[in-house]
Symmetry: C2
Subunit: 334 residues, 2 copies
C-alpha cells in the first residue's frame, strides 16, 4: 500500500508536507501543492484511516444498530440514516441484533473497539440497559431510536406508540368492534407497553372492559402464535378484530388466519402498527398506523452529529414523530 512517505519521497518533500496538502492545513506553496497532488494521483494514493483515527482520536464512523434488518420499518430507517451520515461526512457501520441481547452486546463491543464517533441505537428492549450503560461508560455519544429504555436518559427519536395505538383501536371501535384482540410484542420493549396502554385507554374511553384473554405477547420479530391464536379464536366469544403491534406480527397473524380459512376482513378485521412499503404499494390492503421511518433515521443522525460536534447541546433531547392512520381495507364494519 502506498503511504504518505512514498508520496513524500517521489515528490521530494517531507511526509508532513504531504499531510498538509491532503488536509489543507498549514502553509503550502501552490507549486508544491500541485507537485504533491500529481504524485498522489500517479501512485493512486488512498489515506489509511486507521492510522488517521489513531492520532486524531476520532474515526468519522457512526454506527447504526437495528433489531431486524428484514423489517421495512428498519430498512427505511437505515436508508435515512445512511443518507444523513453521508451528508455529514461519516461512514456508517451497520449492525443487526435480531432482537437478541447477546448479539447486541457483541455489536456494542465491536462498536467500542472500532472507536466509532457515535451510535444510532435501536435497543432490543429493556435489558439493553446494560449495553447502553457500557457505551455511556466509554463516553460514546448515542441516540436511542424507536424504543425507550427505562434507566437511561439520552437523546431519543421515538414514535407516538400510545397515540397511534389509540387511533387504530378507536377506528376499530368506530366500525362497531367490541371484542378486539391485541397481538403484542414482548412487554420488555417500551413500544409494546405503550401500544398496550393505548389499546387499553381506547377501550376504557368507550367503556369497553379490558379482557386479558384477548391479549397475546410475542417477540416482535418471530411470529409463531399458532397455539395462542387457537386459544383466541376458540373462545366462547371470539374477537371480531385484531390489532397487531407491528407489521411483522400482522403478516404472521393474517397468514395464520388464512390457513385456517378465516378471511380478512370479511370474517375478522386486522390493523397494525408500521407500514409495509412494497406490500402496501402492491396491494393497499393493511390498515396501519404508519411511522415516518426514513425520518427516524435522518433525524437520528442529525441529533447524533449535533451531540458529537456541539458542545452547546446540554440536556438530552427527545423527538416524537407522529404516526399516521392509513385506512385501507383490512378492517370492516362489524
Amino acid at each position: 500500500m502506498v503511504t504518505i512517505y512514498d508520496i513524500a519521497q517521489k515528490a521530494n518533500v517531507s511526509a508532513m508536507t504531504v499531510s498538509k496538502v491532503i488536509n489543507n492545513t498549514g502553509r503550502i506553496s501552490e507549486e508544491t501543492r500541485r507537485k504533491v497532488k500529481k504524485v498522489m494521483e500517479e501512485l493512486n494514493y488512498i489515506p489509511n484511516s486507521n492510522a488517521r483515527s489513531l492520532v486524531l482520536q476520532q474515526t468519522q464512523i457512526l454506527s447504526l444498530l437495528i433489531t431486524d434488518i428484514t423489517n421495512p420499518f428498519y430498512t427505511s430507517l437505515a436508508r435515512g440514516a445512511e443518507d444523513g451520515a453521508k451528508q455529514y461526512g461519516y461512514r456508517l457501520l451497520f449492525g443487526n441484533s435480531d432482537e437478541d441481547y447477546v448479539k447486541e452486546k457483541d455489536y456494542v463491543d465491536m462498536i467500542l473497539s472500532t472507536r466509532v464517533d457515535g451510535v444510532l441505537f435501536a435497543p432490543a428492549g429493556d435489558l439493553s440497559l446494560k449495553n447502553l450503560e457500557k457505551l455511556r461508560a466509554h463516553n460514546i455519544p448515542f441516540v436511542i431510536m424507536d424504543r425507550a429504555v427505562p434507566g437511561i436518559e439520552s437523546d431519543m427519536i421515538c414514535g407516538d406508540s400510545k397515540e397511534g395505538a389509540r387511533k387504530l383501536v378507536d377506528y376499530l371501535i368506530g366500525l362497531g368492534h367490541r371484542r378486539i384482540a391485541l397481538v403484542n410484542g414482548s412487554l420488555d420493549v417500551s413500544t409494546a407497553r405503550l401500544r398496550y396502554e393505548g389499546y387499553a385507554e381506547a377501550l376504557a374511553l368507550q367503556g369497553i372492559p379490558l379482557d386479558e384473554t384477548l391479549i397475546i405477547h410475542q417477540n416482535y420479530r418471530d411470529y409463531h402464535a399458532d397455539d395462542h391464536l387457537e386459544q383466541l379464536l376458540e373462545q366462547p366469544s371470539p374477537p371480531t378484530a385484531i390489532f397487531a403491534a407491528n407489521n411483522v406480527l400482522a403478516v404472521g397473524v393474517i397468514r395464520d388466519l388464512r390457513e385456517r380459512g378465516i378471511r380478512v376482513p370479511e370474517d375478522i378485521s386486522v390493523v397494525c402498527f408500521d407500514d409495509l412499503d412494497l406490500s402496501s404499494a402492491l396491494d393497499p390492503f393493511l390498515t396501519v398506523a404508519a411511522q415516518p421511518a426514513y425520518q427516524f433515521g435522518a433525524m437520528g443522525i442529525q441529533l447524533l452529529v449535533e451531540r458529537i460536534r456541539g458542545s452547546s447541546v446540554p440536556e438530552s433531547r427527545k423527538v416524537i414523530l407522529p404516526s399516521e392512520l392509513v385506512i385501507r381495507s383490512s378492517a370492516k364494519p362489524i
Copy 2:
C-alpha cells in the same frame, strides 16, 4: 480510553505481556495471566482495533455493497452475509449504492481507506468496472454478487437469470399468452441482459416473434414508467401479460395498472423475478422466479473468506444459484 499501557502499569507487567494475554500468544504464567485479566476487567479495557489493524495490516472487517437497501432481495442477502461474517469472526461494513455509480465510487474509496480485508460487491452495472478495477489495483479481494461485469474476472455468486426468465415466460406461454411485454432493468446490468435473452429465447422456441414495442427498459430501482406503460397499453394489439425483470418493477407496474383500472390478473397477467418476502407472506399473489437471497450472502462470504485466507484458491470460482418458479395467482390463462 484505557490502553494496554494502563493495564500494564496497574498489573505491574510490561505492555507486551498484556498484549500476549489478550492474544493468547507467547508464554505467560497462569498467575500473570490471571492478574492481567483481572485488571483488564476492572478497567473495562476494550482493545483499539485501529491500532491493531495498523500493525497487523488487516482489519477483520468485510464490506458489503448493495444497490438497494429497500429491496427485500438485498436485505435477505445482507442478512446471509451478516450471519456469515459473524460466523467467521469478521465485522461487516454496509454500503448502499442506490444503483448509482458515483455513490458506488465513494463507497469504494471509503472501503479502500478503511483497509477492509475483502468486499462483497453487488455492482450497479457495467460501469462498475472502473470501481472494481480500483479494488483490484489495491489488492482487495472481492466477490461479485448477483451481476456479472464484463471485463472483470473474479469469484462470483449469480442467479440463473436467463433460465429463470425462460421459465417465467414459458409459463405465461403455457397459459396461452402470445403478446408478452417485458419491463426490464437497464441494459447495462448483466441480469437485465440475461433476462431479456431468456425472454427472447422462450418466445423464439415457441415461434412467437419478438416485438420490440413490447419492451421497456428502466432503472431497476425507480419505477416510473407511466409514459412507457401508456404506449404499451395503447397499441393496436396490447400485451395480455407482463414480465417484470425484478420485484420492484413488478410492484410499480401493478400499481400503475390498478390506477388505470386494469385488474391483475383478470385483465392482464404479471410475473416477475425475485420474491417479495413479507408481501408474499401476507398475500401469496405474485407469481415469481424466487432466488435464494440469504444463500447469496452466506455463500458470498464463504467464498470471500476462503479467498482471503486460502492461498490455495487458484482461479476464480463462479457459483450459480438456481431460482425457483413459484406459481401464485398474478397470472391467469388468457
